[in-house]
Symmetry: C2
Subunit: 249 residues, 2 copies
């Protein structure tokens, strides 16, 4: 398990080296400073998000940008309620890494809406719902890379329907034909608080972990010698992802 990355090419591709640096520096952040973000930077971030690939070039995304503190708090509260029920259902889940409860810390929240009407552009033999959600994921990743390139931090807050989505829809007067899948907090890192928070230890240790490239690349056909056993896959879930944590009895 490596936690650093180095360019695998010689330095003859300057754009690649910059991209690799940006992709490496992008991390989900869980403690934000209250320092405001210039609107020009918000626009710069969304400009890259706008260029993301989407099924059929349908560009199903729109963005609601929320800066008002009270509104941010209400969005955060609605999103966090998603996990109240789950907390009892999922005792091994590491709740401290959930993005939703601290969304309001960030000076800017960007809600990435998905226009369901764009599914009419997709071929009927494919599942339009999957294509829509993959397109939105691309948009969020583009947004996050752009933020990282500007020295800004983000995280990825997922909503999937239900009461929280309805509450946020009403609050921001978002039309019914949009999904509200993703809420991205945008701001500057509060490294001091981030380092102090003991609850974030699993995220701090495990967030930067990446499987080595040679374990996941198969040349020609699937290389059975590299297959992870079910036991190894389960161990990875428990020891390397940020969400599953073994607790003392």
């Amino acid at each position: 398990m490596r936690d650093t990355c180095s360019s695998v090419t010689d330095a003859v591709y300057p754009d690649y080296d910059v991209l690799l640096r940006i992709a490496t520096s992008r991390r989900s952040l869980r403690r934000f400073s209250p320092n405001p973000v210039d609107w020009s930077l918000v626009e710069a971030v969304l400009e890259v998000a706008r260029l993301s690939p989407s099924a059929a070039n349908s560009q199903p995304w729109e963005f609601v940008v929320v800066e008002d503190a009270d509104t941010r708090a209400r969005i955060s509260e609605a999103a966090a309620s998603l996990f109240r029920e789950g907390r009892s259902r999922d005792p091994s889940f590491e709740w401290s890494v959930s993005v939703q409860p601290f969304l309001s810390q960030a000076p800017v929240l960007i809600l990435v809406l998905g226009d369901r009407r764009m599914m009419a552009a997709y071929p009927s033999i494919l599942r339009g719902n999957v294509l829509l959600r993959q397109s939105l994921a691309n948009c969020v990743y583009g947004l996050q890379l752009a933020a990282a390139s500007l020295g800004l931090s983000t995280a990825w807050g997922t909503l999937q329907g239900g009461t929280p989505e309805s509450e946020i829809r009403d609050l921001l007067r978002i039309p019914d034909y949009f999904t509200i899948d993703h809420i991205v907090p945008l701001g500057y890192a509060d490294h001091v608080e981030g380092e102090k928070a003991t609850a974030l230890e699993p995220a701090r240790q495990r967030g930067p972990l990446r499987r080595p490239l040679d374990e996941m690349v198969h040349r020609g056909s699937y290389e059975a010698s590299k297959a992870r056993s079910d036991a190894a896959a389960e161990q990875f879930v428990w020891d390397c992802t940020v969400t599953r944590v073994r607790r003392p009895d």
Copy 2:
């Protein structure tokens, strides 16, 4: 509708400007030159893909890289069969833009596998299948950006189960616990053939189109004045996406 993009910031963020240039230059390509791609570049592309964000940092992806011409042809044929049935069901669909039939042109095919066992890392209150597929979409976008930064071209070939996936699974001996959602052709553009192919006219004209940023950004709450009517949304599907084309009777 703009088809070019310019930096919205002054040039004080060099990494941002590089990222914007890469994101702008990334395009789905439909005619590839047979020129081979150095293995070091394939690895460089996958190195960035490996760093993509995933739900719970589960990194559910592995890659099968296929260079053998006969195997590429068989994969292409299996993937294209997905559209045979759909062609009659969907008469307004612009089949010429489908990536699957010409996958074999590219000297390298990268199959992005998704390890379903990683869904055990996701909280049970969210739909694991959606989180898995969004994670895989991020990985493909990272891969495409890396390719663009190296002067390489890609496209996005979607599979969603069924007979084509089974055929490819058997051919490449891919274990059952992987989805085979995405096949990405990687190579150098054949601009001469691309310009000549009249069947690609809709993709050539519409692929680079992007909705203007100010139409999709809402500050504070959803701005009703910017809402697209159902009629405008339908018109966008027919006039601006690459897949729906009005045909003369």
